[in-house]
Amino acid sequence: MKTLMTNNTEKTTSIIAATAMILSIGLPNIFAETPIADWYWDDDANICYLDTELNTLNWSGAGTGYATQIKARIANAVSTYNAYMNGVDLNNNDTCSGDRIELGAQDLAEATYLAQLTDWDETSNILSQADIDFNTDFTFYGDTNQCYPYYDIEWVANHEIGHAVGLDHNEGWFANSVMVPNCAGSWSTIQSDDSDALDTHYG
């Protein structure tokens, strides 16, 4: 009887040891917070819409010239970030001066980016300008809540604004993040992995 109990205890202990070993390797990746870049905004930033460029984007299969509709969707993404950033505000005031994030469009070519974020000179780690360019080679949509084949521009904006405020890609195994590199359902809004990272920068 005593031998049986000892065997059971040993088995249980071995299972605990094996589980702990697996967790020690897996957990850091599973629960990895979205990484932050080494730059950030130290003051409020204006949101600047480049209408002429946004009008060149293909919109909802209807063609070009839809900057107004596109701006409305991007404004939703800006509001999402403002709800999570305590230290600074992204002023959705369409002002193209001062510290700012410019939103426009560019021909980034076929089979490349949906959109690209360019951070200007990060010498001091404090940003003064960031540009988001949506790719004129794609067609974007509003309220499709999906990636392929109808790219929801608000989802793409959620991801790019994340870069603009200093979030890096989250490549954790089971990342629940708007910052996973390839378009996915988690781009719909700021996720749990991201909010802690935003707190680190702007809490």
């Binding site: 000892t6 205890t9 040993e10 202990t13 071995s14 605990i16 040891a17 702990a20 070993m21 967790l23 020690s24 390797i25 957990l27 850091p28 990746n29 629960f31 990895a32 917070e33 990484p35 932050i36 870049a37 080494d38 426009g104 560019q106 021909d107 980034l108 070519a109 076929e110 089979a111 490349t112 980016y113 949906l114 959109a115 690209q116 974020l117 360019t118 951070d119 200007w120 000179d121 990060e122 010498t123 001091s124 780690n125 540009d131 080679d137 990636c147 392929y148 790219y151 793409v156 991801h159 790019e160 870069h163 890096d168 890609h169 490549e171 590199p181 390839n182 378009c183 781009w187 680190t200």
Partner: protein, 193 residues
């Protein structure tokens, strides 16, 4: 009985190791912030997941070869800050599409370092001199940011590093057998072997 204590002690050590790993992985990384000495411009992007079928069909060439030279160059436009792009020269051993017949090919990627400018670009493929590679080459698009240069279709998704019979992509540790991949590409493209 002694064995029981040994196993329990081992389990305890592993638990401590596990907890330490978790704490370290979730530590505030703000201590890693450091000041750059150079002017740094960085590109970050968002991409769809491109299937192998799409990459094969959208590309003019599927080049196998060896990287022989990487030349950084500063690109300035009126809409963007000065940034470093790199021209990657590859000695061509084969084009799986049977379309490319020159001895070398040059493709442009974003990122690099020249003078006092450093540019990082997280979704671009990484190349190293001497590396054996397979990559999908898109035809030039003069109006795009790549100008009069070939570029890699799918950026990082369109480049494989070839080693010991395996083909590996940088992200997600995506490794496949070279022979299997080559034959799949030619099958998609409908190329006669």
């Amino acid at each position: 009985m002694q064995n029981k204590y040994k196993i329990t002690s081992f389990a305890a050590i592993v638990m401590v190791f596990a907890m330490t790993s978790i704490v370290l992985a979730n530590m505030d990384v703000s201590t890693q912030i450091e000041t750059h000495e150079k002017h740094v411009t960085s590109f970050h992007g968002s991409m769809p997941v491109y299937s192998l079928d799409y990459l094969v069909n959208v590309s003019e060439y599927a080049i196998i070869g060896e990287v022989v030279k990487i030349t950084p160059t500063i690109v300035e436009t009126h809409t963007m800050p000065p940034a470093v792009y790199s021209d990657v020269l590859v000695k061509v051993e084969n084009d799986l599409n049977n379309n490319y017949h020159d001895k070398t090919i040059s493709v442009r990627i974003q990122g690099g370092e020249k003078d006092n400018i450093k540019t990082t670009a997280d979704l671009n493929p990484k190349f190293a001199v001497g590396e054996q590679v397979l990559f999908f080459v898109h035809e030039k698009d003069l109006d795009s940011i790549w100008g009069d240069n070939y570029y890699v279709s799918g950026l990082y998704q369109g480049k494989y590093s070839l080693t010991d019979g395996k083909a590996n992509r940088d992200i997600y540790d995506d490794t496949v057998e070279q022979t299997e991949l080559f034959s799949q590409i030619q099958q998609i493209r409908g190329v006669q072997k």
